[in-house]
C-alpha cells in the first residue's frame, strides 16, 4: 500500500473506533434509562428495559472492536499496490475500500447495520415501557422485523463484496484486482 493508503486505513480505523464509542455511549444511555425508569415504576420491571443496553453493546461496540483488532494486524501485512494501474477500474475511494474490503465494512454496510441496531434498541426500550405499563400494541412487531432486515442487509453488504474482493485480491498477487 502507498503511504496515502495506509493513512486512509488509519483514518478509517479511527472512524470505526468512533462508531464503537458511539455504540458504547448508547449502551450506557440505555442502561441508565432502564435504571431510572425502574425507579419510578413502583417496582414493576421489564427484562426488555433492563437488557436493552446489550443490543448496541453486543452488536455495535464488540464487533467493531473485533474488526479493528483483526484489521489492524492485517493492514500492516498488505502488499503495496500500484494505484495508477487500477484507476481505470475503480474510483479512488472504492479502490482503496476494495483493497481492504475484507478488512473493513463499507459505508452502505455500516449504515444498514447501525440502523438495525437503532431499530432493535428502540423496540426493546418501547417494549419495556409497554410491559411496565401493562399493555400491548401490535405495531411493536415493526421494530424487530425492521431491525433484523437491516442487520441482514448490512451483513450482506459487508460479507458478499468482502468475499469477492478477497478472491480478486488474492488472484492478483500484488496487482490491483482485475
Amino acid at each position: 500500500m502507498f503511504t496515502s493508503d495506509r493513512k486512509k486505513a488509519v483514518e478509517y480505523a479511527y472512524k470505526l473506533f468512533n462508531y464503537a464509542c458511539i455504540c458504547l455511549t448508547a449502551a450506557i444511555f440505555c442502561a441508565l434509562f432502564g435504571a431510572v425508569y425502574e425507579v419510578f415504576s413502583h417496582g414493576v420491571f421489564s427484562f426488555y428495559m433492563i437488557y436493552a443496553f446489550a443490543i448496541p453493546l453486543c452488536l455495535g461496540t464488540f464487533p467493531l472492536m473485533i474488526i479493528l483488532l483483526c484489521a489492524g494486524r492485517k493492514t500492516e501485512k498488505l502488499e503495496i499496490i500500484d494505484l495508477k494501474e487500477a484507476e481505470t477500474l475503480y474510483e479512488e475511494d472504492r479502490y482503496w475500500e476494495n483493497s481492504c474490503l475484507y478488512l473493513f465494512p463499507g459505508r452502505t454496510a455500516l449504515n444498514a447495520w447501525f440502523s438495525g441496531i437503532a431499530a432493535l434498541t428502540a423496540g426493546c426500550l418501547f417494549q419495556g415501557v409497554l410491559e411496565i405499563y401493562g399493555t400491548t400494541n401490535r405495531l411493536i412487531v415493526v421494530y424487530p422485523v425492521a431491525g433484523v432486515v437491516l442487520l441482514a442487509a448490512g451483513l450482506a453488504a459487508f460479507v458478499i463484496p468482502a468475499i469477492a474482493a478477497r478472491r480478486m485480491y488474492r488472484r492478483s498477487r500484488g496487482l490491483y484486482p482485475q
Partner: protein, 408 residues
C-alpha cells in the same frame, strides 16, 4: 450532508414511528361500540328458570342442598362452598361472619334500627349507619371489633411477618335493601389498609359491570367514581382495564364484546351467580356466553380455587414486584361475594403481594377469588364515596379506568 443523509432520514422515520405508536398506545382513543350499555336480561331469566326447575326437582326427594361444593345439575359450577361458620374457625373468619349481615331471610330479625329496604345517601361524606357489622341477627349490641389486624399464616408466608394490633375505631358501613346488602369494613394488616365489601344479592343481575362513558373502546377512560355515579352504583370497584389490552375475553352483562383469547385466565361469573376461573384455551368466548357467563374478566391470576390458595409466594402479575395496591373479587357462598381493595405505594400502606392478598381472602372464607387490575387503578367506591386511598403516579387521586364492577 450527503454522507449523513441516510442517518438523518432513518432517524426521522424511527422517531416519527415511535411517537405514533406511543400515541396509539396511550393517547389516541378508538370507539369500537358506542352506547355499550346493553344488559342481557334473558340470560338472567333463563338462569332463574333453570334454578327454579332444579329446585323443584330437588324438593321431591329430600336432599340436603346446603353442600354447594360440586357442580349443579346444568353443569354450571357452583360458585363456592358453604360458609365456614363453624366454631372451630379462626377469629378472622368469625369476625368476617359477624361482619357479614344476614341474608334476606334473616333481614326481619335485624335490630339495628334501619328500615328494611331503606337506601342511604349517595353523596360523598354521607353519614354512616348506626348499625355496626359486628351484630348478629337478633342481637342488638354492637361491640364487635370492626377494624381488626390480621396476621397471615406464618408457615406458608415466610416473607409476611405478622404484625398484630387491634383498633376499635369502628370504621364500618352498611347498605341494605330488598335485593342488595353491602357491608363495608376496613382491615389493617402488615402495614396495609384493606377495604372489604361483603355483598349479598338476591340475584346475579345486581352484580353488573359498566364501561367508561358507556362506551366500549380503546383508551376510553373515566374515573371509577364517575362511572359508578353514572350507573347509580351502591358499591363499585375498578375492573380488569380491558382497554389497555388487545386480547382477552370481554363479556359484560351477558353481552360479548371481545372474543380474542388472551394469555391470562378468565374469571367467569355465571348468570346463576356462580364464579369460576377458566383457561381461555379450553373454551371460546362464544361458548362461555352460551354456557351462561354473565361477566368475564381477563386479568388474573386466579387467587383461590375451591377454597385453596392458587398462587405461589413469588407469583406476580407480569413483572410486578410484591407490594402494590390490589383489587380482587371473590365468592364465599351462593350470591355472597366479597370485593377487596388494598391500599399501597404510600407511607401509610405498603401494599400486598398476590400471595398475601390470597391468604387474606382465604381467611375471609372465600372459595373462588380472582385478581383484578391493581396499582393506581385500585379504587373502591361505596355509596358515592371513594373509601380507599388511590395512588396514581405522583398524585394521590383516582386513575381513570376503562371499566368497573358494581353492585346496583
Amino acid at each position: 450532508m450527503k454522507k449523513n443523509t441516510w442517518a438523518v432520514v432513518f432517524s426521522f422515520c424511527l422517531i416519527a414511528f415511535t411517537v405514533f405508536i406511543a400515541l396509539d398506545t396511550f393517547v389516541l382513543s378508538s370507539v369500537y361500540q358506542a352506547d355499550a350499555t346493553q344488559i342481557n336480561t334473558e340470560m338472567i331469566i333463563a338462569a332463574k328458570e333453570n334454578g327454579e326447575s332444579a329446585q323443584k326437582e330437588s324438593e321431591s326427594p329430600q336432599t340436603d342442598d346446603t353442600d354447594d361444593s360440586g357442580k349443579n345439575g346444568d353443569g354450571n359450577p357452583a360458585g363456592g362452598g358453604a360458609p365456614q361458620s363453624d366454631a372451630g374457625d379462626s377469629p378472622i373468619q368469625q369476625e368476617a361472619d359477624q361482619s357479614s349481615s344476614p341474608s334476606q331471610s334473616d333481614a326481619g330479625d335485624n335490630e339495628s334500627g334501619e328500615e328494611k329496604g331503606s337506601r342511604t345517601g349517595g353523596g360523598p361524606g354521607s353519614s354512616r349507619h348506626g348499625k355496626k357489622p359486628g351484630n348478629k341477627p337478633g342481637h342488638g349490641d354492637s361491640t364487635a371489633t370492626t377494624k381488626t389486624i390480621i396476621g397471615f399464616d406464618q408457615e406458608e408466608a415466610a416473607e409476611s411477618a405478622a404484625e398484630v394490633t387491634t383498633d376499635n375505631s369502628g370504621d364500618s358501613r352498611e347498605y341494605k335493601d330488598e335485593n342488595v346488602q353491602v357491608t363495608y369494613t376496613q382491615y389493617e394488616t402488615n402495614g396495609t389498609t384493606i377495604h372489604v365489601a361483603d355483598v349479598r344479592v338476591s340475584s346475579a343481575e345486581y352484580l353488573k359491570t359498566a364501561f367508561a362513558k358507556g362506551t366500549y373502546g380503546k383508551n376510553v377512560t373515566q374515573s371509577t367514581s364517575e362511572i359508578a355515579a353514572s350507573n347509580n352504583a351502591v358499591l363499585a370497584v375498578n375492573g380488569d382495564y380491558y382497554g389497555v389490552q388487545e386480547r382477552g375475553y370481554v363479556i359484560r352483562n351477558g353481552v360479548l364484546y371481545r372474543e380474542e383469547a388472551g394469555e391470562n385466565d378468565v374469571l367467569c361469573i355465571y348468570a346463576d351467580g356462580s364464579m369460576k376461573v377458566v383457561d381461555p384455551s379450553t373454551a371460546t368466548a362464544q361458548e362461555l356466553l352460551e354456557q351462561g357467563v354473565w361477566q368475564a374478566f381477563s386479568f388474573g391470576p386466579g387467587l383461590i380455587t375451591d377454597g385453596e390458595i392458587d398462587v405461589a409466594l413469588n407469583t406476580e402479575v407480569g413483572k410486578a414486584k410484591a407490594s402494590n395496591p390490589r383489587t380482587a373479587i371473590g365468592i364465599i357462598d351462593d350470591l355472597h361475594y366479597v370485593f377487596v381493595v388494598s391500599d399501597g405505594r404510600s407511607g401509610e400502606s405498603e401494599g400486598l403481594s398476590l400471595y398475601e392478598l390470597a391468604s387474606f381472602m382465604e381467611q375471609l372464607g372465600v372459595q373462588t377469588a380472582y385478581n383484578l387490575d391493581g396499582g393506581g387503578s385500585s379504587t373502591m367506591v361505596f355509596q358515592g364515596e371513594v373509601v380507599n386511598n388511590p395512588s396514581s403516579g405522583f398524585r394521590d387521586e383516582e386513575r381513570e379506568v376503562s371499566d368497573i364492577v358494581y353492585i346496583g
